[in-house]
Symmetry: C2
Subunit: 190 residues, 2 copies
């Protein structure tokens, strides 16, 4: 059971750094200090390893975002809490977060994309629902809930992507999150 976790951790690091397809099973087991049959004993296949990794690490952060999305507060507060939960997800395990994003943006026919898609879709629907619940506060949305959700997630994910690139190690400041949410809510003329 200890090896099982070490394998997942090593796989995460390598998938993050080099990409799912570019990493060989041999490389993973070498880093973990075990041999191939051990990996196949626990996960059955390279893809099974990826799936287990996603399942294990996704649930908790997603629950946090969902909790924020379901808050019975005004939309400003909900958006802020969602953004906060999302950034916490990023902060808690940047490698896993970046790995998920890379997989989601990867080729549609690739098995790694197929594996991550349900998780990201579920997350995305959570945000759409938050906007639907806020219909009353936003005037007539004309069915723009999806568009808002896309803008919101797009702004956040893109910011985190470029933040992790530029300030590799630095903490994400609270006020930066507020500023992003404000920009999203009120636009750029403020």
């Amino acid at each position: 059971m200890e090896n099982r976790m070490r394998i997942m951790e090593c796989a995460k690091e390598l998938f993050y750094a080099k990409g799912y397809d570019a990493v060989g099973v041999q490389e993973i087991v070498d880093r973990a200090g075990i041999t191939k049959p051990t990996l196949y004993y626990y996960f059955g296949s390279k893809l099974g390893l990826l799936k287990t990794l996603l399942e294990t690490k996704f649930e908790e952060p997603h629950a946090a975002v969902r909790a924020a999305a379901e808050l019975k507060e005004d939309i400003r507060s909900v958006l802020y809490h969602m953004a906060k939960a999302y950034c916490d997800f990023f902060e808690r395990d940047r490698e896993f977060y970046m790995l998920m994003m890379a997989l989601f943006y990867s080729a549609r026919e690739n098995e790694a994309y197929q594996a991550v898609k349900p998780y990201v879709t579920e997350f995305y629907e959570t945000v759409v629902q938050a906007f639907e619940r806020a219909s009353g506060q936003l005037g007539n949305m004309y069915g723009r809930q999806r568009q808002f959700a896309i803008g919101f997630i797009g702004t956040l994910t893109h910011y985190l992507l470029l933040h992790s690139e530029a300030d590799a190690g630095e903490r994400l400041e609270e006020e930066k999150i507020t500023s992003l949410v404000n920009q999203f809510m009120y636009g750029i003329f403020t």
Copy 2:
């Protein structure tokens, strides 16, 4: 020379569909109806093929966005024209656009990411400069040019990503672009 172009086209389709690492050179030459030495004659390596592909297909759309970014009009108009040029890029060759995005979101140590990074960075700086040029119109930006650029690009790219997923073939409506730009400029309370 005809083979050269066919190889690039086939490579683009396969890289888009399955991912750079997941596609073998053999697969590319099979689809192009030629053999490996022909590919290596023109491009030297698999990575050389990718680099040539990016160089060949990036310049023109990027020039269009840069032209929009340098318009001497008010920021609303500049943003609209940039968004329009960007979406045209997407429309002209969705596969190539999606391939670029996938590469940019892929693992940092991966050679495919290294290959695409300079192009996306250049594009990104173009947008940052558009916001810098508009400083006078936006009040005090407090150095938020980068943040604005990130939000702008993030909203656009994310929208195109999910649009291409949902409405695979459908044309991108003009008014949708306007709506996105408005959302970005004025926020969601309108």
